[in-house]
């Protein structure tokens, strides 16, 4: 656990970068510090590994004041990833990753083996090992940066806007990769970003800081979206926080219908009868293994033949019990039927969420987090 | 070496301006002329060469290789190579110094022009500048600070290098050094060093001033 206890950073010219920060960052979680530039988020991060020393207050690492540890020793036990990766250009990728193990006096073989293992872990091919940083793309360099930070298996990882210099597509894949890694490693990660979407995607808890280094709100992402502490946080979260909040609501409130699927082998006449019986203009078509292959409209059915002769319309799916309400809604919006097909972990149809059941679930979600105070204010 | 005073002011007074060749004043004038001609010669040759190297990229690699080699050659032997052609004349000193200047200035011209941001170049094209106008009004104008930085190096080192010419009797104030050595007499050596450094500082100052005038859009930031 990392504890900020009344931490203030004041510079010689009187500027206050961080103002009496009080925070607890839980072990094994990703804590994101987010805020506009000048909010002291990077300064706060850099005070943890003493790249900057606090002016007042103390930072405790599992109860030990970091000021009592010699900075290089402290830093060797804390992974550190920065924006441009900061790879050493004169060293090969494998030696870059093995930097801290070498510093800690591991033997060459062990350090290299560990580096190779991490290279694979962050999704890079082994032949990258003997290359130099300039031969890698920005995204690859950033993966190496993460591998290097993890090399000595530090319990804590500090990440200072690590993904902000890469293009959005690469950024998304790096974010997914980080979450995958974290599910395996359970590090205590402190992550700094100015991008609220990134904060919400990655953070177990998010600390929103305002200019002048004051903590505006510290909460789980869902709470942040449903109950922003004040106008600053509300504005910082942006326009569509209602929609984004759906990402944090599971699909348990979503009622599924099981009578809206038809096998692709069915005769069209039988399909027409089913549609009439269930009173639905749309039916989801499944293959022999009960996997969804598309939608068919009752009105468009030909006079004879099986569904194999009919052109099916596009569909969207979500995984029952795993995906959020937002994914389900998205799946519904991708289908001309306006319904989302729920599948199980193996991709077999678990049921269909109709527009009515989506409506119900969203109404339920809104009332569950409905804050009477907001209503009174509004 | 007996205990002569470091500087004999009376000698300076007597030799400052006798109106004859060999007076400090006439050596000074000589020095200024030789250094100026070398600098101007260098600039006049380096500008078109640099522009050509930008226009035809493949030229730059071999050119800069040759420039590196030339720059590595000590001045004295280079003077000697010219001796059979030009004799014991000023040209023997001015031409090599001009060539050194070219060696320093060509990279400066190329760097200066290529440092012009591509979006600036593109927008000049988009606004309908033809290549010549673009070169003169945009690229060369924006290259001025880098070229002038090179020119400052060239000016200061040319002024100092002219004095080596004294070894073939054509060194401007450098002749004070050979004079001092032959007569075991300190004063001329000190006068020569002081005047040459002063001249270099003045030239440097003038070029800084010129840069401010020519590039009013840039605050004079670079100091070296």
């Amino acid at each position: 656990m990392i504890t900020f206890d009344g931490v203030t950073k004041r510079y010689g010219d009187g500027t206050v970068a961080v103002d009496h920060l009080q925070l607890e960052m839980a072990t094994g979680e990703i804590t994101v510090l987010v805020g506009p530039s000048g909010c002291g988020k990077t300064t706060s991060l850099r005070m943890i590994n003493r790249m900057i020393d606090a002016s007042e207050g103390q930072i405790l690492l599992d109860g030990v004041d970091v000021r009592t540890i010699d900075p290089p020793t402290l830093r060797r036990g804390i992974g550190y990833v920065i924006q441009q990766a900061g790879l050493f250009p004169h060293r090969t990728i494998v030696d870059n990753i093995a930097t801290v193990p070498f510093l800690l006096g591991w033997n060459r073989k062990k350090a290299r083996d560990r580096a190779m293992e991490l290279l694979e872990r962050v999704g890079l091919r082994p032949e990258m090992a003997s290359r130099y940083p300039f031969q890698l793309s920005g995204g690859q360099q950033q993966r190496v940066g993460v591998a290097r930070a993890l090399a000595a298996d530090p319990p804590v990882l500090l990440m200072d806007e690590p993904f902000s210099a890469v293009d959005p597509v690469v950024r998304t894949s790096l974010q997914e990769e980080l979450l995958r890694l974290q599910s395996e490693l359970n590090k205590t990660i402190v992550f700094v970003t100015h991008d609220i979407d990134e904060a919400i995607t990655l953070g177990d808890r998010v600390a929103v800081l305002r200019v002048g280094g004051k903590l505006a709100q510290y909460a789980e992402p869902a709470t942040l979206l449903s109950d922003p502490a004040d106008d600053f946080v509300r504005e910082f979260l942006g326009q569509d926080r209602g929609i984004r909040r759906l990402s944090f609501i599971d699909d348990s409130g979503l009622r599924l219908r099981s009578d809206l699927t038809v096998p692709v082998a069915d005769e069209v006449t039988a399909v027409a009868a089913t549609a009439a019986a269930v009173e639905s203009p749309w039916l989801a078509v499944v293959d022999e293994e009960n996997r969804p292959i598309g939608w068919v409209a009752a009105a468009d059915l030909p006079a004879a033949g099986t569904l194999r002769d009919v052109r099916l319309l596009s569909h969207g799916t979500f995984v029952r019990g795993k995906d959020s309400l937002r994914t389900a809604l998205d799946a519904a919006l991708l289908s001309p039927s306006g319904c989302a097909i729920a599948v199980d972990g193996d991709g077999r149809v678990a049921g269909v969420a109709t527009r009515e059941s989506l409506d119900e679930a969203m109404a339920l979600a809104a009332s569950a987090t409905f804050d009477p105070k907001d209503a009174a204010d509004g | 070496m007996d205990d002569q005073p470091l500087i004999r002011w009376d000698w300076i007074g007597r030799n400052w301006d006798t109106g004859r060749a060999g007076s400090i004043m006439s050596l000074l004038v000589d020095h200024v002329i030789m250094a100026s001609l070398a600098i101007v010669l260098g600039l006049v040759i380096a500008l078109p060469m640099g522009i050509a190297c930008v226009r035809w990229r493949w030229l730059y690699q071999p050119t800069s290789g040759v420039m590196n080699v030339i720059y590595a050659l000590p001045s004295l032997p280079v003077f000697m190579f010219l001796l059979p052609v030009t004799g014991l004349e000023r040209a023997t000193v001015i031409i090599p110094l001009g060539v050194y200047a070219v060696a320093v200035l060509v990279p400066a011209v190329v760097d200066g022009i290529t440092a012009v941001p591509d979006h600036v170049r593109q927008s000049a094209v988009a606004m309908g500048f033809n290549p010549l106008r673009r070169l003169l009004q945009i690229e060369l104008a924006l290259a001025v600070p880098v070229v002038l930085a090179g020119l400052r190096v060239v000016a200061v080192s040319s002024i100092s290098l002219v004095s080596v010419g004294a070894l073939i009797g054509q060194g401007g104030l450098g002749n004070l050094f050979t004079d001092a050595f032959k007569r075991d007499f300190l004063t001329p050596a000190i006068v020569g060093i002081v005047l040459i450094i002063a001249m270099a500082l003045i030239a440097d100052g003038l070029l800084i001033f010129l840069q401010r005038v020519l590039t009013p859009w840039a605050k004079a930031r670079r100091s070296t």
Binding site: R75, H90 | G174, L201
Partner: protein
């Protein structure tokens, strides 16, 4: 051309204390001695100033002063003040004029290392001297070598001129030849000095290739 043949074909020029091998060796000795002394002074100083950021003014001033200082004047002044009983006084200007290029380029090399790189190095837990020696120096090596190369150019040139104030070496052929109007000697000496200077350049090019990491020089093809 005939002068060259006259000079190099003369057996008298290949033996004795005024023979080409001896003069060449002298020139090499002076050059190496001055370069080593200058490097021992300027490299550590440049590293220190570049790493700590303190004393940058010294670097700028010394660079400008060295460029303006007339080598011949400095040589004459020092020899007149200290005499020529040993070669040491003559070596002083050689060293003095070699220091600034090494100092400036070492300083610039260290200063110019990407701030992120420095930050990452400290952040990984390298100590100050480890950051300097394991990260900053290897990355700044091309500029440090450039400084040494420019210093060598300066020394070779100055050592040639220094023959005027009695230093041995290849410059003797030029200076003595001028005094006695022995033009084969002048031109022959000039060729030797030029060849010597170019050989020094080749040595530095080789040193660059051997010591600079391919990751820094980006010599490798990007595949």
């Amino acid at each position: 051309m005939n002068w060259l043949i006259d000079f190099f074909a003369d057996p008298a020029n290949w033996s004795g204390s005024n023979g080409i091998p001896i003069r060449l060796l002298e020139h090499l000795e002076f050059t190496l001695a001055a370069l080593v002394v200058a490097a021992l002074i300027a490299v550590p100083l440049g590293l220190l100033i570049g790493h700590t950021g303190r004393g940058a003014l010294i670097v700028v001033v010394s660079a400008n002063l060295a460029r303006a200082l007339p080598t011949l004047g400095l040589l004459v002044l020092i020899v007149l003040l200290l005499g020529t009983s040993t070669v040491l006084p003559v070596l002083i200007p050689l060293v003095l004029l070699a220091i600034p290029p090494i100092l400036v380029n070492t300083y610039e090399g260290i200063r110019g290392v990407d701030h992120d790189l420095r930050d990452a190095a400290y952040g990984m837990g390298l100590r100050g001297n480890q950051v300097l020696l394991r990260v900053l120096v290897p990355v700044a090596l091309p500029l440090i070598l450039l400084g040494l190369r420019l210093a060598a150019i300066q020394i070779v040139a100055t050592a040639t001129v220094a023959s005027y104030v009695s230093l041995g070496g290849l410059g003797r052929y030029i200076i003595d030849g001028l005094a006695t109007k022995d033009f084969p000697s002048v031109v022959g000496g000039s060729v030797l000095v030029a060849a010597f200077a170019l050989a020094m350049q080749a040595v530095f090019a080789l040193a660059h290739r051997l010591s600079v990491s391919p990751g820094v020089s980006q010599r490798l093809k990007v595949r």
